[in-house]
């Protein structure tokens, strides 16, 4: 009975999706300003806004491009971005029907952009990260309507879940590499962490690394390898560091991720102003090695002269890794590569300008945003000016660090 019902639901949704020829690629296409409609009981929408600090789910129907998913679940989300007037939302297709998907999507996030007057910091950073080969969610912008009323401009963010892992890590011998251990990093208020050893008890790691797959496994299977990684990073001297750590953490990938955050001047990332924040950690399927996945980059583009090695020495993992000459060189080379990629054909400036133009009308019509249209206009100008100044600054700083010839324009 249950299987039949869910099967019918799946079939309907699949048929609806395939009939319209729409896929998740279309949904997250960064070239398109989407329109997403949520239909929910008026009482529920009022209650969600009133209780925006809670994670309670509410049922809704979702329509996009003429395709409707029925009885999905939505809830308020965010940390500092929680809002009663313009709630950030997590959308789950399978909240009320096991295995229900919408055009192949199990869940996604509607980022309310309340902390970014430009509206494009997060989406631009993720586009650049993907261009640099760093695991990052697909994103675009959308107008959000609830019960036919315009709520505001949102970023449409792909969830870091098994589907995303399969997309990024692909298959090995027909085995989709999406069944490893996925963790979302939880920022623990009043307890900034910079990768110091938290002791042999798993409590400190459980508080910070929220498991998203394989939840039924034992604590030792889930958090044991993280405790071991942190312990080894804190206790292993340089000579044996790479041999000891690399099997448990993709050091080259980590350095590349650090370099990308450095180029985009991310102030609240892995070496954030208040400790580590905003990332996923994934232990690859059937392996001991972990990798980092980018998340929530809306504090990037902080300033054009943001130091490229800011706070690297404060974080144990970053410091000990970059003490190794090879990785230190790789870091600065990667920062320079990011600058080159951004500069290639004026890509970054063009991308910023394209996104700003795409969202302009929707942003100005958004009356729920906590900043004015004048604020947005100022932020727009700041963003447009960022690429040229940042690229020059970064290239000059890298040359200084590596002792190579300074490019033109350096002081």
């Amino acid at each position: 009975m249950l299987r039949q019902a869910f099967g019918a639901a799946m079939l309907l949704l699949l048929l609806a999706g395939s009939a319209a020829g729409q896929t998740a690629d279309d949904f997250f296409s960064s070239e398109v300003l989407q329109r997403v409609d949520l239909w929910m009981n008026a009482k529920d929408w009022d209650k969600l806004k009133a209780n925006f600090k809670e994670n309670d789910y509410y049922p809704a129907d979702l329509t996009w491009n003429g395709i409707t998913a029925y009885n999905i679940g939505i809830r308020s989300r965010g940390l500092g971005s929680r809002s009663s007037t313009k709630p950030g939302l997590r959308v789950d297709m399978d909240r009320y029907a096991t295995d229900q998907k919408f055009i192949g999507i199990k869940s996604f996030v509607l980022d309310n952009l309340v902390q970014d007057p430009s509206g494009i910091r997060e989406t631009t950073a993720m586009r650049l990260f993907a261009r640099l080969g760093i695991a990052a969610p697909r994103e675009t912008h959308t107008r959000l309507y609830v019960n036919g009323n315009y709520i505001g401009l949102y970023a449409l963010v792909e969830s870091v879940d098994k589907d995303m892992l399969a997309r990024v890590y692909g298959s090995i011998n027909d085995d989709v590499q999406n069944d490893g251990y996925l963790f979302e990093y939880n920022y623990v208020l009043d307890s900034p962490w910079k990768f110091e050893y938290l002791g042999s008890s798993y409590d400190g790691y459980k508080a910070r690394f929220s498991i998203k797959t394989n939840e039924s496994k034992s604590d030792s299977h889930i958090w044991g390898p993280i405790e071991e990684l942190v312990r080894l990073v804190n206790q292993t001297a340089s000579p044996g560091f790479e041999a000891s750590i690399n099997p448990k953490l993709d050091l080259a990938g980590f350095v590349k991720y650090l370099a990308a955050q450095s180029f985009v001047a991310e102030n609240d990332g892995f070496v954030g102003y208040a400790g580590m924040n905003n990332f996923y950690l994934y232990r690859l399927e059937n392996k001991d090695q972990h990798v980092f996945i980018a998340w929530d980059e809306d504090n990037s583009f902080f300033s054009t002269d943001f130091p490229i090695n800011a706070r690297l020495d404060e974080n144990v993992l970053a410091r000990t890794t970059l003490e190794l000459p090879a990785y230190r060189t790789q870091f600065y080379t990667s920062v320079n590569d990011a600058a080159s990629s951004a500069n290639d054909g004026d890509w970054l400036h063009a991308e910023i300008e394209r996104q700003l133009n795409m969202i302009a009308d929707a942003m100005n019509a958004d009356t729920a945003k906590p900043y004015s249209n004048a604020d947005h206009a100022a932020a727009r100008n700041t963003m447009l000016a960022f690429p040229a100044a940042r690229i020059t600054f970064v290239q000059c700083e890298v040359a200084k660090q590596l002792g190579t010839a300074k490019p033109a324009g350096c002081p």
Binding site: M1, F6, W39, N41, A42, K43, N71, G73, Y96, A97
Partner: protein, 427 residues
């Protein structure tokens, strides 16, 4: 409630004084504190105040283990119950929690019963629906009532009721109006209201029940004449919100069907059968609640009714030969020439929840037109041992099986066993 309790106490005190004066001089009777199966204060003929106590403590195990405590202080109640002349009766009963503090009031009522065909009861008492729910917790055949009687039947509420009987007890009726919809039907979840609104309560409600020994006038074997059939109906106003009935496991340790959004009316219908020839007992009930869901869809449209349906059948046999009445008193108590009374029995019951509509895909969403159903099926096998009239030892083996294993006592597991031993002391 506290105010209501004071009013009821005052009313009963007044009746005691007035009634006592009117009937005190007919025949000399033993007065003062006496023992008549229980402590009783006798003021005069037909005027007395019984001091009552009910204690139930449980020891139980679960398979698979569900992280519940082995020992459960189940229930302790103290009460006062009595009559004032042949015309009035009254009862107070209040729960005491495991910390020794007074908890909820149970029965608090005054009853006028001068005439068998028309009697009147007022106060707080059980809404007339479901024979098993109307049976006191110390007199039920098994440690726990059936799920249907526990969850669908309203339980107690404040109100007034007319009741009566004809042809002895050949035909009985009860009909009353109540403030809410019983303890089982009241709103237990915090309600969300928009600024400026005030939350509504469930009710008022109407309830009626009729029973009859339908074979009594017919030329059938004498044993069949005790067969009693009954029917009952309730109707209550239901405010908007997450207020529906919900599915709880037998011991209340898990919710297997969460509340859904409702608005409109909650109606119940019930049928019952009871046959107790000699030491044998057969009981069965079927009942259903239908709750409106007006304007409750994701798009504010009406939804099909939310339907709760349950039934049970149980059979018992008093091995030692005592009659199967409302309560069992051993003919030969332990230490008084006998071993007491022993009763064995078995019961099957089930309670399911679903939407009236089964069209389209089903969802667990509390606003779905077609809800994913779930049913708890329960087998109970039991032994009751009565060493005397005050003590009962209960042993029950309970097996629950959930239609949806993901909504059960432990998600992913459908079947559960529980073994229960209960010590009960009542006077």
């Amino acid at each position: 409630m506290r105010r209501f309790g004071r009013i009821a106490l005052g009313a009963i005190g007044l009746v005691l004084v007035v009634g006592g004066t009117a009937h005190a001089q007919k025949k000399p009777v033993k007065r003062g504190l006496v023992w008549d199966d229980r402590p009783s204060i006798v003021f005069g003929r037909d005027i007395h105040l019984d001091i009552r106590m009910k204690l139930q403590t449980d020891w139980r195990t679960f398979d698979p283990d569900v992280d519940e405590k082995l020992y459960d202080f189940h229930s302790l109640r103290f009460g006062l119950k009595g009559e004032v002349t042949k015309h009035f009766a009254y009862e107070f009963e209040r729960e005491v929690n495991s910390d020794g503090e007074f908890g909820d009031w149970k029965d608090v009522y005054v009853d006028w019963h001068t005439f068998d065909p028309v009697s009147v009861q007022g106060g707080r008492f059980k809404v007339p629906f479901s024979a098993e729910q109307l049976t006191g917790p110390t007199d039920t055949d098994f440690a726990y009532r059936s799920l249907a009687a526990s969850i669908i039947a309203p339980g107690r509420d404040k109100g007034g009721m007319v009741y009566g009987r004809f042809f002895g007890r050949g035909l009985t009726y009860q009909a009353g109006f109540f403030n809410g919809d019983g303890d089982n039907g009241q709103i237990k979840e915090e309600q969300f209201v928009s600024p400026g609104e005030t939350p509504d309560a469930v009710g008022p409600s109407f309830a009626g029940r009729v029973t009859a020994t339908v074979l009594r006038p017919l030329p059938v074997p004498q044993r069949l004449k005790s067969l009693r059939l009954g029917a009952a109906y309730t109707n209550a106003e239901l405010p908007e919100g997450l207020n529906s009935l919900r599915g709880k496991s037998v011991m209340g340790t898990a919710t297997y069907f969460e509340r859904v959004y409702v608005k409109g009316r909650r109606q119940r219908i019930g049928t019952e059968l009871e046959w107790t020839p000699g030491s044998f007992g057969l009981k069965a009930e079927w009942m259903q609640a239908r709750e409106d869901r007006l304007g409750q869809s994701n798009r504010n449209a009406d939804l099909s009714d939310f339907v709760s349906t349950g039934w049970y059948v149980d059979s018992t046999w008093v091995v030692t030969g005592e009659s199967k009445g409302d309560s069992i008193a051993p003919k030969k108590p332990l230490f008084k020439g006998g071993i007491g009374a022993i009763e064995i029995g078995a019961r099957y019951d089930q309670l399911g929840f679903a939407s009236a509509s089964t069209e389209g895909p089903a969802f667990t969403n509390p606003r779905a037109e077609h809800l994913v159903p779930n049913t708890d099926e329960v087998w109970t096998i039991g032994v009751n041992y009565f060493p005397n009239r005050w003590v009962r030892l209960v042993g029950n083996a309970i097996h629950e099986n959930f239609e949806d294993p993901n909504r059960s006592i432990s998600p992913g597991t459908a079947g559960f066993w529980a073994l229960l031993f209960r010590f009960q002391l009542v006077f």
